[in-house]
Symmetry: D2
Subunit: 110 residues, 4 copies
């Protein structure tokens, strides 16, 4: 995924509509959490089995759109805060590996 290209696209999108004024990181964090909840909402009354079958249901496009909405705000926020997304992910996976070593993993959930 070409993060920088998407960031340029989203930056232009916001500028063309004079929306950059609203895109401070506090507002972007709120907007991102709202989209994350729209994804939760699709699953809230489903059993785990129904949840696993979601992409074979009438909600598959809805799921893709909410996932995209979260990704869009995350990429936009990383741009405004100058966070290298790929490095942040790599660093965190490494940190998680130390926090949850394999031999003790059975005792903790993540």
């Amino acid at each position: 995924m070409n993060i920088k290209a998407i960031q340029k696209q989203l930056s232009n999108f916001a500028d063309e509509r004079d929306w950059d004024q609203f895109h401070n990181p506090k507002n972007l964090a709120m907007a991102l959490s709202v989209e994350a909840s729209e994804l939760v909402e699709i699953f809230q009354w489903l059993t785990p089995e129904q949840a696993k079958a979601i992409m074979s249901s009438g909600e598959n496009e809805h799921v893709k759109e909410e996932i995209a909405d979260i990704m869009i705000y995350l990429i936009r926020m990383a741009d405004k805060l100058n966070v290298d997304l790929e490095k942040a992910v790599t660093d965190k996976i490494a940190k998680n590996a130390e926090k949850y070593p394999i031999k003790l993993a059975g005792k903790r959930q993540c």
Copy 2:
């Protein structure tokens, strides 16, 4: 960003710890929303100006980690649901451009 490589890494990480049993999409959506709220929490008492300066504050590493946590669950969820993240984002940006045409954009916020 090499999404497939990260998905392989996360899949191995979960398998090594026998965590795949917890990774149905309902639980992953919940976990993702929890991480999104941990990002919101960093900003909740800040003014917009303090929010814009967050990466010059003692919270810059915390911000990067929460952004990474959200991305990790998003990438994992897309893998479990077989969603092409890049296509989902491209499609949604196109849909947003239709929903918020430039000449009417001043009247709506996003």
Copy 3:
């Protein structure tokens, strides 16, 4: 506020519609968080000044409804988990007073 009376009303409401099957605490926690995000969404692009004036705007009924939705799920969840809401609140305020003693309060935000 007569919590027990509202709990009886909500219990009947769910039974009449055969919805109790969906009201396990995991689902109720999800639904409550979704409503909390619907309240956040009203404010996400507003300045602090615009936020303070929200009840004089066209969104005042929307705010009341989202606040009610959160309260309804909270009261329902407390009923299903047999949590005494009033006692839980009293206990937590007391715990907060110890955690944030007045003379040190200026150094921490809540």
Copy 4:
């Protein structure tokens, strides 16, 4: 539950610590959503059966505290916005009864 008494208590609590400056409705909505996610987090990896048994687990006090945190922010927000909580709940239950009439309820979930 004596809402006005709790509101007085919370108002004094904030004033004693000079925290009222942070309590605009935008920040309070964010804080409330963060607490709602802390409640979700308790359940995120649990099966529905484990979720139903939560109050017999080591997490019962944690659940009570998160429920209390959400209620505290809700009561505080209603005070700052001058929303009558009891009336808002009564009105919304009535509105829900119209939106989800009993004979059609089997086809929709809430």
